[in-house]
């Protein structure tokens, strides 16, 4: 009896700790602090040399010292799939830039990527940022999650090292008046507002009511709130709001039934890949009576893997999300190289990480210095027109660090492929609306 009580109290405290950390890392807490990021990165890294800590760079043969760039992504835990692809994207960009002669204005100095594992947890991401800055990185990229990016941005600002956010949506990251943080992707307001605009363009008067199913992390909450504010002027009303815990759920059928219960015109979904798959399965099983299922910043519905995994049932799912410019032949080449190198389909998240390295390389080139302060000043005047993303203009940052031209595109799975359907300028095929695979 006594032993049982001890066991129970131990167990209880563990469970409570796990439950308390449920924000961005639920279900992965048990592994959180215990893994060495270096080992997992080594396993994931291509056959090229593994990024070593800065202390081992005494090699006198190469005159220009390598310029360190830190990359913080979730390399283990529930988001490890996306995190490793992003790390690979950044690595490929670094290898390409080095193969092309490095940074010319710095005597051909090569770049060196130092990868770190956030494990999907904010505290680990923050301590890894401190470690990388201690190692002497000229800039940071990351981190895929809003909840992790918030503390990382605060540390980058404090230490005066520029952070280029590849993926992280929450507006509040840049609301702090930081000068060292720059964001490549559209923020939550842009995601929400453009998503609403696409719905109105897509359905006209046919879309009046929306049920919103979203993950309950900073990501899903910020996007759904931005969406809820935006469509009032467009005559669209959110009648049901259903949050869920993205890393603990094993089934979303009840949630989907709740969303469908108010007979909305459209069900909107925001979240990550695995939970997106569960939502799609639930909608298909229920054959929800709506005009369309539309993802907004959804992590699954616009990926080739979704089409591959979910087969014919993936047909006609919409997603309004950032996207690489799939009509650009240069982008097609990047996708091919990525696939050939890593035996894995490149997604837009990996493209954003790849692009972030090119943005930093461009700043280094113009700055002629690897000092973080000089890189920051150069980043602030970035103007890259020949980028790889489906944005209406060049990559250029405003005073707060937002990429002015970052906008999502609306995609739909049509004829077994993810195709851009809106805006008209980037259209690959006409949208099918109303459209669900089960008819209607």
């Amino acid at each position: 009896m006594k032993r049982t009580t001890v066991l129970l109290s131990l167990l209880l405290s563990l469970v409570l700790v796990a439950a308390a950390c449920s924000d961005d890392d639920a279900g992965t807490t048990t592994t959180a602090a215990a893994e060495s990021p270096a080992t997992t990165t080594a396993a994931e890294a291509p056959a090229t040399t593994q990024a070593a800590p800065a202390t081992t760079q005494a090699a006198p043969t190469e005159p220009p010292d390598p310029i360190l760039i830190g990359a913080i992504h979730p390399l283990t835990g529930g988001l490890a799939g996306a995190g490793n692809r992003m790390d690979n994207g950044a690595r490929m960009a670094v290898d390409e830039i080095n193969a092309a002669g490095g940074i010319a204005s710095l005597g051909g100095a090569p770049l060196e990527l130092v990868s770190a594992d956030s494990t999907g947890a904010a505290d680990v991401g923050a301590s890894e940022a401190e470690r990388l800055i201690g190692d002497g990185v000229s800039a940071l990229i990351g981190t895929y999650q809003s909840g992790v990016t918030l503390p990382v941005a605060a540390i980058a600002e404090r230490d005066g090292v520029p952070l280029v956010i590849d993926v992280a949506v929450d507006d509040s990251i840049l609301d702090q008046g930081y000068s060292d943080t720059f964001r490549m992707q559209p923020n939550a307001t842009s995601m929400g507002a453009n998503g609403a605009k696409f719905l109105s363009e897509l359905g006209g008067d046919e879309i009046k009511t929306v049920a919103y199913l979203h993950d309950d992390t900073a990501f899903g909450v910020s996007v759904s709130q931005a969406f809820t504010v935006a469509p009032a002027a467009l005559g669209i009303e959110v009648i049901t709001d259903i949050p869920y815990a993205p890393f603990s759920v094993t089934d979303l059928t009840t949630e989907m039934a709740q969303a469908a219960a108010g007979s909305p015109d459209v069900i909107v979904v925001t979240g990550y890949y695995g939970d997106g798959l569960l939502a799609a399965r639930a909608a298909t099983d229920l054959e929800v009576d709506v005009k369309a299922i539309v993802g907004i910043a959804q992590g699954a519905f616009h990926t080739p893997q979704f089409v591959e995994d979910f087969g014919a049932d993936s047909e006609l799912f919409f997603n309004s999300n950032y996207h690489f410019n799939s009509s650009d032949p240069i982008v097609a080449g990047i996708l091919e190289r990525f696939e050939a190198t890593f035996d894995d389909a490149m997604d837009t998240e990996a493209m954003l990480a790849y692009q972030a390295i090119y943005v930093i390389a461009d700043a280094l080139e113009r700055a002629g210095s690897s000092d973080p302060a000089d890189v920051q000043a150069a980043l602030a005047t970035t103007n890259i027109a020949d980028h790889f993303l489906a944005y209406p203009g060049p990559i250029t940052f405003d005073d707060t660090g937002e990429n002015i031209n970052a906008e999502p595109v609306l995609m739909q799975v049509v004829d077994g492929a993810v195709q851009q359907v809106l805006p008209a300028g980037l259209r690959e095929t006409d949208p099918v609306f109303p459209g669900t695979p089960w008819g209607g």
């Binding site: 469970v15 048990t30 215990a34 893994e35 997992t40 835990g77 869920y244 009840t254 709740q258 229920l286």
Partner: protein
């Protein structure tokens, strides 16, 4: 008698909830949604039961908190996934591989990792199983990357002519949808629970397991090889979660953390049902499944809140669990 009256109180509470809930405004609006929550809760609850049974057995007999339980499940999900992807083996057919495989893995873990620390302090054992979990998860990450993978059964949305009736999947029950993979998982989980119960209650091996759980030294005195029983018990526990892994594959997805999701819930089920009790794990799983889905109905997004409230309530008011014997 005392335990029985407690059980009656519990059952009474359940009836009150079942009667009271349909009186609310929600019921009028959304009885389909309510039916869906009940159906989803029972179906996922069956899987919780199966996962928890293995955990409960190990907990009850060996007094080991096995944090590697979910990681063992991850192994079988990957095994079933690979068999399906590479050789087209149906996940349900792969049960004949995963159950024996995990039994052997379980016996091995007990023999080589846990037996040496059987007399060590609780936290040492706990850290050991946690370490095994971390090793398995990261091995999966290295071997298969973290990208979630999934399979779709070709026959999951299909009509089945059973002669008497034709079942059109996904089935509709009171407006709620019952998908074929979840129904199969539920039924097989119930079946395995029955088999396990008979094994423990009606066989000589079961008697030896029960003896080793109640009085290891006494069992040793009457000639039972307790260390061997411990290995077999851990093997059976791992085999339960092995079966669960194959069963969830068609409606979940594979990722290195897929099994870990079930670990915490399984602990709650074990505590609720009573340590070492197979019927307790079965009922506990169903109750927790229902609790989580019904909580979702009334407090959207707080699915697991209800689960942990139940957990705390059980610890406070009935720490031995519904079917547990007080004073063990």
């Amino acid at each position: 008698m005392r335990g029985r009256s407690r059980r009656i109180v519990w059952a009474g509470l359940a009836v009150v909830v079942a009667v009271a809930v349909p009186q609310t405004a929600w019921w009028d609006l959304n009885h389909t949604v309510f039916a869906q929550a009940v159906v989803s809760g029972l179906l996922i609850g069956g899987v919780y039961s199966l996962v928890a049974m293995g955990l409960s057995l190990v907990f009850g007999v060996l007094d080991i908190i096995n944090f590697a339980h979910g990681a063992l499940m991850t192994i079988t999900i990957y095994v079933s996934y690979l068999l399906f992807q590479n050789y087209g083996v149906d996940p349900y057919v792969s049960l004949v591989v995963t159950i024996p495989l995990m039994f052997v893995v379980g016996v091995g873990i007990q023999r080589f990792a846990i037996n040496p620390v059987m007399d060590a302090p609780v936290h040492n054992q706990l850290l050991l199983t946690l370490g095994i979990a971390i090793i398995i998860e990261n091995l999966a990450l290295v071997l298969f990357t973290g990208t979630p993978r999934s399979i779709e059964l070709a026959y999951a949305r299909n009509e089945f002519d059973l002669g008497v009736v034709t079942l059109d999947f996904p089935l509709r029950v009171f407006g709620a949808v019952v998908s074929l993979p979840k129904l199969i998982a539920f039924l097989v989980a119930l079946l395995l629970a029955g088999v396990l119960y008979l094994l423990i209650q009606r066989t000589q091996l079961g008697a030896a397991i029960r003896a080793s759980a109640q009085e290891p030294e006494g069992a040793e005195l009457v000639g039972i090889d307790v260390r061997r029983i411990y290995m077999i018990t851990f093997g059976i526990g791992a085999a339960c979660v092995g079966a669960a892994g194959s069963l969830v594959l068609p409606f979940l997805f594979v990722a290195p953390t897929a099994g870990a999701t079930f670990t915490i819930i399984a602990f709650v089920v074990v505590v609720l049902g009573g340590m070492g009790s197979i019927p307790g794990a079965l009922v506990g799983g169903l109750v927790i499944g229902l609790t989580q889905e019904l909580t979702q109905l009334f407090v959207p997004g707080a699915k697991f809140l209800g689960v942990f409230i139940v957990f705390l309530a059980v610890l406070l008011f009935r720490p031995e669990g519904i079917f547990g014997k007080a004073g063990r």
